[in-house]
Amino acid sequence: MSKLKGKRIGLLAAVVLVVVLVGSLVFGWTYHEYQSKTKNSLKNIKSAHVMRWGVKSDTRLFGLISPKTGQSEGFDIDMARTVTKQIAKDQGTKIKPEFTPVTTSSKIQLIKNNQVDAVAASMTITPERAKIVDFSNPYFPAGQSILVKKNSGIKNIQQLNNPKSTIIGVMGTMAMETTKKFAPKAKLIAMPDNSQAFSALQSGQGDAMTTDNAILYGFCQQSKDVAVIGGTFTNQPYGLAMDKGQTDLQKAVNRALKEIRADGTYDRLIKKWFGNIPGLDWRELTK
């Protein structure tokens, strides 16, 4: 008798568990939809006096955790700061920027989950992404390139177009897709972030690492035995991203971008971060 009872309780518990699981899934989903329909990021930013930015923490020059302060530092962060300041000025209120570290693969999800208002994370504007998030006007003219060890003898990406070569990319970047076009025969492996891709290159897991030139230049600055070769083979400017449908915020960001370009702040930031990189003329970037 008691065994039968035990079985019944077990069955009941299983049913309850399934109901709870399915229920929370459905609830989570509908809440998510509801939230994305009713939110107005610009209004929230103005009332909270805080603008939450998603930034990189592993990308030299753009967003890299500084061991001294424990904060991310880089062009993206300065850009986010300046844009926030400009928006605050335009809106006639005080807004503080706040930074959350994001990875290449998590940045869109964080926007969608409303954990950040906007993302400044060396993010290429692509038509696929533009279906899901809204981009500002381009703020940085990037292009894809490859990084190799200096003693590898590789001169361009065509040399890697054979099944023996391995190219290391970063998970969730456009570079993964474009590499398939330029070197379709090469083996392609994806690492979770830039610094891991770089250590994979250094430990000989692949022959070349590919991503945007500006990021690769950051690694050249860090290590003397690697070089960016063959120039850029794509034109993929970066944009600041915010959630789809946040037109007010998008307009405010674009206005701020235009203003900081006009008053020379933009050129100053570019010079600050890209002024002393061998093989790169910062004036090219401000065009």
Binding site: T104, S105, I108, Q109, E128, R129, K131, I132, I168, M171, G172, T173, M176, E177, I189, A190, M191, P192, Q196, S199, A200, Q202, S203, G204, Q205
Partner: protein, 211 residues
């Protein structure tokens, strides 16, 4: 969700295969290695005991990710080792330290009279251990071993950090392309359930049958 399945079927299946392969290799490897180290831990010989304990305490107390990256980034300078094997070797070492503890626990809960009886019947320590005590200890260790094996399958997602082509890696690749991580991870979660579900049913069955 169906669309994710149909669009990426071959990618998901590749990932599924690598996860299964890594899990099977990991399961066998950690079972063998774990048993060896459990025996060493319990050995009367001081030196063997020290090695066994040191191994278990070392690998039990550092994160799996650290071991994996050590093989992927550091060891690969000397020996060419790809992401899949770096992850799988790390998985074996890490899991075997837990398996060793499970087996040691099982053997310790065998009545000491078994060992004494076997020894007084003229068996050496090694013979008594292997033929009499260890099989009984194994039986007692099965429930906790089941836990470790399920953990092993789930931990194989560590391969995704070192481009090990497993399910989790493919999930990251797919969600990077379709920009729909929500549904992609649900699909991948279901595939993991397809692996761990039957495994846990099997372990329960084994537990009941041997009791």
């Amino acid at each position: 969700m169906i669309k994710i399945l149909t669009d990426n079927w071959s990618t998901i299946i590749t990932g599924f295969e690598f996860t299964i392969l890594s899990s099977i290799v990991g399961l066998l490897g950690s079972l063998i290695l774990g048993t060896v180290f459990a025996l060493m831990e319990m050995a009367p010989n001081k030196f063997l005991k020290f090695i066994g304990t040191a191994f278990v305490e070392f690998f039990r107390n550092i994160p799996l990710l650290v071991i994996t990256l050590f093989f992927y980034v550091v060891v690969s300078h000397a020996v060419k080792i790809n992401g899949f094997w770096a992850g799988t070797i790390a998985l074996i070492l890490y899991t075997s330290s837990f398996v060793a503890e499970c087996i040691r626990g099982g053997v310790n809960s065998v009545d000491p009279g078994q060992m004494e009886g076997a020894r007084s019947n003229g068996l050496t320590y090694t013979q008594a251990m292997i033929h009499i005590v260890l099989p009984q200890g194994f039986k007692l260790a099965i429930p906790s071993l089941g836990n470790q094996f399920i953990n092993l399958v789930k931990n194989s997602s560590i391969l995704s950090f070192v481009a090990g082509l497993d399910l989790m890696y493919q999930a990251n690749v797919i969600s990077g392309a379709n920009l729909d991580p929500f549904n992609t991870y649900i699909v991948i979660g279901i595939f993991y359930l397809l692996l761990t579900g039957p495994l846990s049913v099997f372990m329960n069955h084994l537990e009941n049958r041997l009791r």
